[in-house]
């Protein structure tokens, strides 16, 4: 097991190297760089340009050297935890992202929990009561959930939350706590704002998960071993949980691989509509304004999370499913 994990981690290194090269190439592709466009902009505004200062910055970030060297510089920096400099915010990337990352992770984890808590009971109920009126009703609700675009739901909820609860639900906290250090009041404010993005982002995911769980469970419920369990005299609910549900979990675990990166990049549009302090809108802005290092760091981080997520789901699958763990040891 340990051997396998070590081997997988070692295999991640070349994967990430290739990705970093691709990311860097993409960042470099647009003509010019941030300094040239800044100089042009300043000149257009009729201001004097401190060429000396810019030259220093250019030198500091290695823009006077060939791209290959700059790539290694960037790579080496990342290895030491220096993700470069955001020209747009005039701050190191790590400081720009900072707080937002934690808020994003908070929103995402609560959303995932929300999705699972709602989707599991409903999916199980739907599958065991297939083609009943309650199944049709839940299916209908689920389809509505899938069909309504998140941003629209966000607008609707914003409106009604304001009317009914008097909460202004833009942002993840009340205005006064923005850029404040963390305090109890701030935490409370965050929690009271949290439910709206969670519901909005979670709806589509929940609906989708209900559909998939229902489909997977229906497949499994047909299997012979369910009949075997019933023939043993096992209680129907125990049967459902111990056998088909356990089998249906595989798809769910494989999902972890895609959940991790979506924590960072997910739900951008909703976040923009609600002006949430998450990383989604920042990633989009960085890509739009060609803020190279900020965008590059995001992309690298996404890649890293994907690779880690896949590793985690593979290990979890091996733990869950003995067929994967013991594959090939069959004595047949």
């Amino acid at each position: 097991m340990l051997r396998y994990i070590l081997w997988r981690i070692a295999a991640m290194i070349p994967t990430l190297l290739v990705i970093s090269a691709l990311v860097f190439t993409i960042i470099e592709l647009p003509p010019g760089n941030f300094f040239e466009s800044q100089i042009a902009e300043l000149r257009a505004q009729g201001e004097t340009v401190n060429l000396q200062e810019i030259e220093e910055l250019r030198h500091q970030y290695g823009f006077d050297r060939p791209p290959v060297l700059r790539y290694f510089h960037w790579l080496g920096g990342m290895l030491q935890g220096d993700f470069g400099y955001s020209f747009e915010y005039q701050l190191p990337v790590s400081e720009v992202v900072g707080d937002r990352l934690w808020l994003t992770i908070l929103v995402s984890f609560v959303t995932i929990l929300f999705t699972w808590l709602i989707a599991f009971p409903i999916g199980m109920y739907s599958a065991t009561h297939q083609y009943s009126w309650s199944d049709y009703g839940l299916t209908f609700l689920g389809l509505i959930g899938i069909a309504i675009p998140n941003f629209m739901l966000a607008l609707i909820l914003m409106y009604f939350a304001n009317i009914w609860f008097g909460t202004s639900i833009g942002h993840l906290m009340d205005q006064q706590y923005l850029n404040e250090p963390m305090s109890w009041e701030k935490a409370r404010s965050i929690l009271s704002h949290l439910w709206i993005p969670v519901i909005i982002v979670g709806t589509a995911g929940t609906a989708g998960m209900i559909r998939r769980l229902r489909a997977n469970l229906l497949d499994e419920l047909q299997k012979q071993y369910v009949m075997t369990a019933r023939a043993k005299g096992l209680h129907p609910f125990r049967t459902l949980v111990k056998y088909p549900l356990r089998m249906a979990l595989n798809f769910f675990v494989s999902d972890i691989g895609s959940i991790l990166p979506s924590i960072i990049s997910g739900a951008e549009i909703t976040a923009i509509v609600l002006s949430l302090e998450t990383t989604g809108p920042m990633l989009i802005k960085a890509l739009q304004s060609q803020d190279m290092y900020l965008a590059g760091s995001f992309l690298m981080f996404l890649a890293f999370l994907t690779v880690i997520g896949v590793l985690i789901s593979d290990i979890a699958l091996a733990f869950l499913d003995p067929r994967i763990r013991l594959q090939g040891r069959s004595t047949k």
């Binding site: 097991m1 051997r3 396998y4 299997k223 012979q224 071993y225 009949m227 075997t228 369990a229 019933r230 023939a231 043993k232 005299g233 096992l234 209680h235 129907p236 111990k242 056998y243 356990r246 089998m247 091996a318 869950l320 499913d321 003995p322 067929r323 994967i324 763990r325 013991l326 594959q327 090939g328 040891r329 069959s330 004595t331 047949k332």
Partner: protein, 630 residues
């Protein structure tokens, strides 16, 4: 059914009707069924697929699907306290019925592969029954489970307890299933086709085990099967069901010696058996007229064609198998699926290839069709129009080969594309080879349909609207479309019911005669091969252990493996019961039990000629007397 003493019946089914709600109506699958099971006795419920026998067994345990509606009475009288319960009056999945299931009545299923959960250990799944029905500690349950595993024949029960079902072979899984069913010592065991998915030697072992345990635990059994041979060896009473209605019922003696109903008589005549006279035909319940008049201008024997159509020499195919999984050391072991096979197929004959699962017979057929590339050996096809090296043929030569060798597959469901009409399926080979225009192809397709006895109106139908037997006929027609010389039939009837099986076998025989075809007929069923083949080759672990004309191999088998195969076949004949004791004492179905003249010891094995085309794989220097004295 006269003379029944109802008060002693363990299970008594009265006027049972089962129907399923379908779109726009109800489908009646069982009508007015009466049957009984006596305490400590075996009642066999015999019928073909779709006759409703499995549904009846499910209704006894109350595990029918939601959509089923049941009428009538199912009385279960527990011999321990003499209490009668009408199963149908109990609430679905309620506590009363759950107390019966697994504890007083238990069931084993046909498919040992799918009826155990792959995610839980064998021990977990078996001891669960104890956890449900008895007050016991974990250690007690483990102890009892291991005891039961030992009883059903596991050598190391404590090791098996922690194994997963997929780590066991099919026969072992069925044993685990039996252990699970019997752990609470039920009064009634329902065995739904318990050996159908197993090899014949394993089947004999499982049947023996079931009989043994049934006597030991004084348990009643409802045995559901389509195999009249199994019935003759196991049952005390027989009930024959056809289309949801009981045709005939009585003691096994009465049924086998004096079958009354036309259906049962037909069923018995449709099973190939070893006492058939040469040239005797099976009587299919529904015979298919073969008319190949329009197919080709009859037989066109090529002048001076050589006697040997296909010559196979020293075929070897090795598969690498990763021995341990993700978490251990990764070493590859090589498994020889085919280990130096040589044989000839003569023009116009049918060579039968017999072997159990894993013996490599399907790999051989795949190599011959160029679907698998062997590691070594040669295959030469020669029909008098020039020799073709089958393994090296490329381009035009390979295309030509395809018109001369074709294959009939085992599974008629998955071997026909569900998205093509019959006409598309049959004319596709002609299109691929660019034969004729569309008018010619249509004419040819019609002739093919006629040859296999299917109505031409069916041309625009899709495969799903045909029965299994009809689909297999379409598969045969597809193989015949290009007018091949050699047909490789890989288990063509093993997925079919007995009555349909006879029909397909007769069709293949007729086609062979009319068109002068040559067959390589692969099957695990010796009786079927015996009916079809002129010569029979027996495969074991990738090698042909014995090859001889069919009369010789059946009357005078030499190799221990062939003998064990023959001894393990259950005959539908009360006077030839399986001799379980001898079977157990001289189990030669695997290599450890063979004499040194067959295992070879340290020396190499080679085919020894016993005369008359009878070859046996034996130690190089063994003489004929030594081989026979075994």
């Amino acid at each position: 059914m006269t003379g029944m003493k109802s008060e002693t019946d363990l299970l008594r089914i009265e006027n049972l009707g089962i129907s399923f709600s379908m779109l726009g109506g109800r489908l009646e699958v069982v009508r007015g069924v009466n049957l009984r099971v006596l305490p400590g006795k075996v009642t066999a419920l015999v019928g073909e697929s779709g006759s409703g026998k499995s549904v009846i067994s499910q209704s006894v345990m109350g595990i029918l699907p939601n959509t089923a509606k049941v009428t009538g009475k199912i009385l279960f009288t527990d011999p321990v306290d003499g209490r009668s319960t009408d199963i149908l009056r109990l609430s679905r999945d309620g506590p009363e019925i759950r107390a019966l299931r697994g504890s007083r009545m238990a069931k084993i299923f046909q498919e040992p592969m799918t009826s155990l959960s792959p995610l839980h250990t064998v021990g977990n799944q078996i001891s669960e029954v104890l956890a449900i029905h008895t007050e016991s500690t974990k250690d007690e349950r483990r102890f009892k489970t291991e005891e039961m595993l030992g009883l059903v024949g596991f050598a190391k029960p404590s090791r098996t307890y922690d194994m997963y079902p997929f780590e066991l072979s099919g026969g072992m899984r069925q044993r685990a299933m039996i252990a699970m069913a019997l752990i609470c010592r039920p009064a009634l065991l329902i065995a739904d086709e318990p050996t159908t998915a197993l090899d014949v030697t394993i089947q004999a072992q499982i049947l023996e085990l079931l009989r043994d345990l049934q006597h030991k635990l004084n348990m009643a059994m409802l045995l559901i099967t389509h195999d009249l041979g199994v019935v003759a060896n196991m049952a005390d009473e027989v009930v024959v069901i056809y289309h949801g209605e009981i045709m005939e019922a009585g003691t096994v003696g009465a049924i086998y010696r004096k079958p009354q109903h036309a259906y049962l008589k037909g069923l018995m005549a449709a099973v190939p058996h070893f006492d058939m006279k040469p040239g005797e035909r099976l009587k299919a319940l529904r015979e298919v007229p073969v008319n190949s008049e329009t197919l080709w201008a009859k037989k066109k024997p090529v002048e001076n064609a050589p006697e040997i159509l296909l010559s196979v020499r020293d075929l070897v195919k090795t598969y690498g198998i990763r021995k341990s999984g993700l978490f251990g050391k990764q070493d590859k072991t090589l498994v020889k699926a085919v280990d130096g096979i040589s044989f000839d197929i003569k023009r116009g004959e049918c060579l039968g290839l017999v072997g159990e699962s894993g013996s490599g017979k399907t790999t051989v057929s795949k190599i011959l069709m160029r679907a698998v590339t062997p590691d070594g050996g040669s295959v030469i096809f020669d029909d008098g129009r020039g020799k073709i090296d089958v393994l090296k043929a490329e381009g035009a030569e390979l295309m030509q080969l395809r018109t001369r060798m074709q294959m009939v597959f085992q599974d008629p469901v998955s071997s026909l594309s569900p998205r093509m009409t019959v006409q598309n399926i049959l004319s596709e080979p002609l299109e691929i080879h660019g034969l004729g225009d569309s008018a010619y192809r249509l004419k040819k397709v019609r002739a093919l349909m006629q040859a296999i006895g299917l109505d031409q109106r069916f041309l625009n139908r899709y495969p799903h609207s045909f029965s299994g037997g009809q689909r297999q006929r379409i598969g045969i027609a597809r193989a015949l479309a290009l007018g091949p010389q050699l047909l490789i039939c890989d288990e063509p009837v093993s997925a079919l019911d007995v009555s349909v099986q006879a029909q397909i076998l007769n069709l293949l025989k007729d086609l062979q005669k009319e068109l002068g075809l040559t067959y390589l007929f692969i099957s695990h069923n010796l009786a079927v091969v015996d009916y079809m083949a002129d010569r029979i080759a027996v495969m074991y672990a990738g090698r042909i252990v014995e090859i001889a004309p069919r009369e010789i191999i059946l009357r005078d088998p030499v190799h221990p493996y062939t003998r064990s195969l023959l001894a393990a076949i259950p005959f539908p004949d009360l006077d030839r019961p399986l001799d379980f004791d001898t079977l157990k004492a001289n189990d030669t179905s695997n290599k450890q039990a063979w004499g040194s003249q067959f295992t070879g010891g340290t020396e190499t094995l080679a085919p020894a000629d016993l005369g008359g085309g009878h070859l046996v794989l034996a130690r190089r220097n063994a003489d004929a007397r030594e081989l026979r004295s075994w």
